[in-house]
Symmetry: C2
Subunit: 201 residues, 2 copies
DNA sequence: CACGACATGATACGGGTGTACCACGAGAGG
DNA sequence: CCTCTCGTGGTACACCCGTATCATGTCGTG
């Protein structure tokens, strides 16, 4: 070993600088130089730890996904024990909604990446973890479980209900980010729909 | 009058070139030069008709909004006469979903603008017409009307139902654009939820 | 003590960006 | 007939981008 500064720590520092810029100014403002300045290192270092910009972008995206996943697990465990299907579904969905600073940050940063994916879909393939699919499957299972204990009308299609709910939360998040309504208003709308859903027929 | 070429026609030609690029390659690829090339005119002309890039962006956005509005009116009138609330709601919502080439184009281009708004919210103020608010109000009225003729459970809150529906369509559109599911699958999900909504209790 | 791998700094390069400037044809108004 | 304004072309400017190159410092290991 030589000087051996902690590589992982440096990479984290730089990637989080990228995420901070993506959050506050959008991804198009996240140039290598800007990231270097934000992280308080030289341009050369950014190049050194992430040879190419695409590498940096992908690494930061993976970290963002991990942050969101951690947040969701935290919210689920905070939903009380023993966990009820309704509690879990509510926790997962409302934790995605940009209501507090952290979820605002995560949502906004994800939105910044979304455009990137639209203009360059191959980014998506290089980024292994397909979080939305997993989430949708997870929600589907919870809804099915709720149906079995008669908390949700069993006439509803679980897959479609889960997909619709997730899409709705997504859309609500977009409207909050776009300044069309507040996070609390979005949460109220979500809650209203969950109330309708979890209603013994 | 002098040579007097048709200004409006030229502006339209250029703005639509911008929209075409925003659709196929994203807004960040829509440089003045690229727009000029796409429109088949010189860079100088783009500058001449739209002094600044922001002007071009805003003008094109207004045209895009008009296109969407025209499409919606067309779909509504195609929903049959006399129009039923359910027909109108279905028409409005499904016409936004990216199922055919035109709606794919419109949705994708709107998505391209969305990021722009996120990173620079003042664009939104300069762009007068706030289409989503209008749409939401319109949907709310339709839902209320459906409640009065007992086609929708009157226990539901019309504003929140409309907002949720719109957000869901928005989110479904995003997932289609992101390649997560097909337009038809999204339409099926929407239809399933409309079936649940329009069900005499 | 010396060598070599690792870590970092400074700077250069080619290209793309929005905007500004200058020149020139053509038709209208005096 | 002259002149002036409108429409248009070409090109230059200053800046920012991602990446590459060269140089240097710093330490563990032989």
């Amino acid at each position: 070993m030589s000087v051996q500064v902690d590589h992982e720590e440096r990479r984290r520092q730089i990637a989080e600088a990228l995420l901070r810029i993506a959050d506050t100014q959008g991804l198009q403002a996240a140039s290598m130089r800007a990231v270097a300045a934000e992280a308080g290192v030289s341009l050369r270092l950014v190049q050194y730890y992430f040879t190419t910009k695409e590498g940096l972008l992908l690494d930061a995206l993976a970290r963002l996904g991990a942050q969101l996943q951690a947040r969701m697990e935290q919210w689920i465990s905070a939903a009380g024990s023993p966990p009820t299907p309704r509690g879990i579904v509510t926790a997962v969905l409302s934790c995605i909604l940009p209501t507090d600073p952290e979820s605002r940050r995560i949502t906004r940063t994800y939105a910044a990446y979304y455009t990137l994916v639209l203009s360059d879909p191959e980014v998506l393939e290089k980024h292994g973890a397909r979080l939305p699919e997993l989430l949708e499957g997870f929600l589907t299972k919870q809804i099915r479980a709720a149906q079995e204990v008669r908390q949700i009308d069993s006439g509803k299609n679980p897959e479609m209900t889960a997909a619709g709910l997730l899409a709705m939360v997504n859309g609500l998040g977009s409207s909050v980010l776009g300044g069309q309504r507040t996070g609390d208003a979005a949460l109220a709308i979500l809650t209203h729909h969950l109330d309708e859903l979890f209603r013994s027929p």
